[in-house]
Symmetry: C2
Subunit: 213 residues, 2 copies
């Protein structure tokens, strides 16, 4: 059964990015600290053409983050390049000519733009008619594979509040950022209901899988 899912790392105080996000520091002040658990893993290093690395209880989650979806939806801010119309020499994303997605990516934006085909199977499609349309297009592109909602926080919130998420995996790290982009916020009243599916104790953090209740 294919799913619409989010796999995201959150600080113990609830943030998925630090304050003052910018093109130079897309995860905000201190935000990179959230993802330190991922980089030493063999699963991560292999995906980036490097050898060696650790195999531990986080490996299955890293493989889920890196691998088994067929399309992803992300916000304009996660794609980057600042707000407003795209302009002549349009921003091509944070990931260079060969992004790590290797499948279609649907970018939510208010500003129309032609698809951007890069290497390795990553084509960015720009969707300006709403989150449901983006999800439909991503689902069609993903075929039998899962669809990921990549972020940022406000995009996850919109899908969660609309009841369109089947599953959310929170990788909870013992970091206190103090400020930034809060994940579980702006969810309306009454908020969505979740149930815990599993918890995985890993070195230095815990991964918890929730499903729509």
């Amino acid at each position: 059964m294919k799913k619409v899912k989010v796999t995201i790392t959150m600080s113990l105080d609830g943030f998925v990015a630090g304050p003052n996000q910018s093109t130079a520091e897309p995860l905000g002040l201190g935000g990179m600290e959230l993802h330190q658990w991922l980089f030493p893993l063999k699963a991560f290093r292999e995906g980036h053409g490097e050898e060696g690395g650790e195999v531990n209880a986080s490996t299955a989650i890293a493989e889920e983050i890196l691998g088994n979806d067929g399309a992803i939806v992300m916000g304009r801010n996660m794609f980057g390049g600042g707000p407003g119309p795209w302009g002549e020499e349009a921003w091509k994303g944070y990931w260079g000519d060969d992004p790590p997605y290797d499948h279609p990516v649907f970018v939510l934006t208010h500003h129309p733009r032609e698809p951007l085909e890069l290497q390795g199977g990553t084509t960015f499609h720009f969707v300006n008619d709403g989150i449901e349309s983006a999800l439909e297009q991503a689902s069609a592109a993903a075929g039998e594979h899962d669809v990921s909602i990549g972020g940022g926080a406000s995009v996850v919130q919109q899908y969660l509040a609309a009841g369109l998420l089947d599953e959310i995996v929170v990788s909870l790290v013992p970091v206190l950022l103090g400020a930034g982009a809060r994940l579980f916020d702006n969810l309306g009243e009454p908020g969505p209901r979740l149930r815990q599916v599993e918890a995985i104790e890993a070195p230095g953090l815990t991964h918890i899988r929730y499903a729509r209740a």
Copy 2:
């Protein structure tokens, strides 16, 4: 080695009580939902003179909450009775004549008051010279046992920010309260550093133990 610790239940969006806390609803709107995991447990029911109940992965944490400390520090708001001087017919706490603590309780308050001795070994001491004094008194009273910091959120924050907590166990429930008393907030800059000690997957929630890094 005796410890200073907090054992507290938190919603997935970071709250330990809902909005609009009052004497009638001390945990605020929706706050009781946080603690539903505790009530069906044999360990909890026994502590309240009832028979039967469940034994599961939460039992060890419930026993920790209910049992192995020698003294507790709590805020005036957790003790209850509203702000300001104590008055003639002073509030005796939320717990009746035989509170479940069975050991000394140190209540942080700006307003002096004589100790209040109730049944079962619970004596409330009112401390108006600060959190460090309260902790020293509680530690002396606890002897070789642990000292618990009971709450509410702002009291935990003060001890955490001051570096006085050895351990904090967060019982993370998949509830979204949307508003209320946030646990990890007001912690200063840079915030305290924690490391994960263990995570326990239990039915419907996850308990995570953190220690001072």
